[in-house]
Subunit: 360 residues, 2 copies
DNA sequence: TTGTATGCGTTATCAT
DNA sequence: ATGATAACGCATACAA
């Protein structure tokens, strides 16, 4: 602090006024885009070149203006899913000349609450909020009553606030229907959660409850059910595994299904990591992929592996961009609505037509 | 903006003064940790509970105080390498009650310059800077003359500024020596750059030039040379490939080496992606991994694949944390020095002793 | 179009 | 320990 005070050569609008001979009021108007006398503009520009002066954001924020800073809260910046959203957010923010204050809740609701608290005393114009999971921190958001807010990557969390999310049900439907169209009728669904909310046998009963649609797995599960029903395939809870997001969870899911003797010939997973784990383990258990078991997953990009997976493409960067645009509507006093982004099926190497003679 | 002005119920210290009957001066002291009369403290606490009031960061920043906000500029938040550093930065920042303003230069020096420019008019206490590559934007940093600055993940970029980086030379040495100890003497080195600075035949001549040590590949290359020399193995430029950071670059590197007929039996790559590409292609070309060719790479984590790679472990989260600590020294007016983080060899499945009878 | 004067929320100074 | 007041850098109503 001592150092800072000493070295702080930060010049003020007064300094520029003195150097250029133009009044601070005229300077202020100039910086805010109002027209000034050409002769004055010349003087100003000259001094600006020499000094590299920039108006202080803090000072203008005090005056009730926008700071040009928006907040972004993610559960984990390390996870590609959120990193891509963040990338989109920053890209669009840059387009609009805004800065991004980033907070990572590290998967913990406690930390998330802490961040929200800290953000609230900051200089934010608005906040893009990706709740860690169950969104139990909504009460803490009361500090934000007066602040523009957009919820991203989750659906229906906070009433009256715009949400930006994917068409999870559509994705689940596309993935399942694709597998069915390949002649596969025993399709496993591996649902991933940060905090597992219920067992696989409870999933059907619970999936319509109001709080559940904040989970992307649930939305996709609805699409899964819809595709099954459309094809006249009865729902079998033994084909559903409720687990987490990691590689090992995929491994375990494969073993679990094997132990249940349900003999699936198709599987839908929520992430690349789970698909990798599942596939590796399935092979170890003697299944061929994709002949015996075809795999479809949800992801933003084609991931590199020994072979490429068939996947439901998520537009995460666009999600970030749309979030910023939506937030801007709010910041500028306009109305804003939910945005539901489309998903697309990308058929690659892990899904093929069921061979006529499939012994298992 | 209109909306904001209308809804802004942001109360000030004056409001609290009025509500609590305590003067604003006393309030200010209270918020800054000075002691106040117990009866007053009680009144203040009561109102604080009711209102949830927080002092405005912007206002105190104007008064020459620290904002508690530090800046972080990364080339690409999507890349796990930088995401991990960012995670470390945010973790340590949170520990210290600081906020992080994040800028992604998207791999472009143009954008990087833009961000630096924008950051300079912000309310930062300091900046953690990961230059996009060649650091030609240093001139633009003159806006930061007076601002605490730390350069991360690069070495020797800006004189007089603390750098936090890995012991790249040590890593290259460890990786190479490990392969040598397995009886492998024809070790390929696949150097990765964002902008390729020279060809493989020029690498030896150039690696000592001053500007080159900002590239991590170069530092690791030095370690590679050192290990070779120590073992009395002559340097062969045909075993070196200069390329990029992607999966396809690894694929191409394998083909390139094959085309040069150098018959390597060990390889060092800079990233997991390159190693993946290299390995996949090497197998297609008829080599066995790890028997014919053993692979060592640089990475922060054990990556999941069909098998796990032997790797030089990078401590990226710690790198972020150390950067914040170093920056803090500067912010608080103390001296700070470079920090060189150790690396470690983790032997996994992709490196084995050279079989006695290796026909190739 | 320009300049003067006042206010924004906070801290620091100085009496009390 | 407390309270009145000046100051921070900027924006704006108002008078010129």
């Amino acid at each position: 602090m001592a150092m800072r005070d000493i070295e702080k050569i930060q010049l003020s609008i007064k300094d520029i006024s003195r150097l250029s001979g133009v009044s601070i009021a005229t300077l202020s108007r100039f910086f805010n885009g109002q027209s000034v006398r050409p002769s004055n503009e010349a003087k100003i520009q000259k001094i600006l070149q020499e000094t590299g002066y920039r108006p202080s954001i803090a000072a203008r924020f005090i005056k009730g203006h926008n700071s040009g800073v928006i907040g972004l809260i993610v559960p984990e910046i390390t996870h590609p899913f959120f990193a891509l959203i963040a990338e989109g957010v920053m890209r669009e923010a840059r387009n609009q000349g805004k800065l991004v204050l980033l907070g990572s809740s590290e998967g913990s609701m406690e930390i998330e609450k802490q961040i929200i608290d800290r953000f609230s005393q900051s200089i934010l114009d608005g906040l893009i909020y990706i709740p860690v999971a169950k969104a139990e921190n909504i009460p803490a958001l009361k500090s934000f009553r007066n602040l523009p807010l957009v919820v991203t990557a989750r659906k229906g969390i906070i009433p009256g606030v715009p949400h930006v999310y994917h068409d999870g049900e559509g994705g689940g439907y596309l993935a399942t229907k694709h597998l069915i169209s390949l002649g596969r009728h025993r399709i496993a669904f591996i649902a991933s959660f940060w905090d597992v909310p219920c067992t696989n046998t409870e999933l059907l009963a619970n999936h319509k409850k109001s709080f559940m649609h904040s989970f992307s797995s649930i939305e996709r599960f609805k699409g899964y059910l819809k595709a099954l029903e459309e094809a006249g395939i009865p729902y079998n809870p033994n084909l559903v595994v409720v687990t987490g997001y990691g590689h090992m969870h995929g491994v375990d899911a494969a073993s679990e299904l094997k132990g249940r003797f349900v003999d699936c010939n198709g599987v839908v997973t929520m992430t690349q990591a789970v698909a990798n784990g599942f596939t590796a383990q399935a092979k170890r258990l003697g299944y061929r992929v994709p002949e015996d078991i075809s795999v479809v997953l949800f992801d933003a990009n084609e991931s590199k592996a020994d072979y490429t997976f068939t996947y439901i493409e998520l537009h995460l960067i666009r999600m970030g961009q749309e979030s910023v645009r939506t937030l801007n509507e709010l910041i500028e006093g306009r109305e804003a609505q939910d945005i539901c982004l489309d998903v697309e099926l990308r058929v690659r190497e892990t899904s093929v037509k069921l061979p006529a003679e499939a012994p298992r």
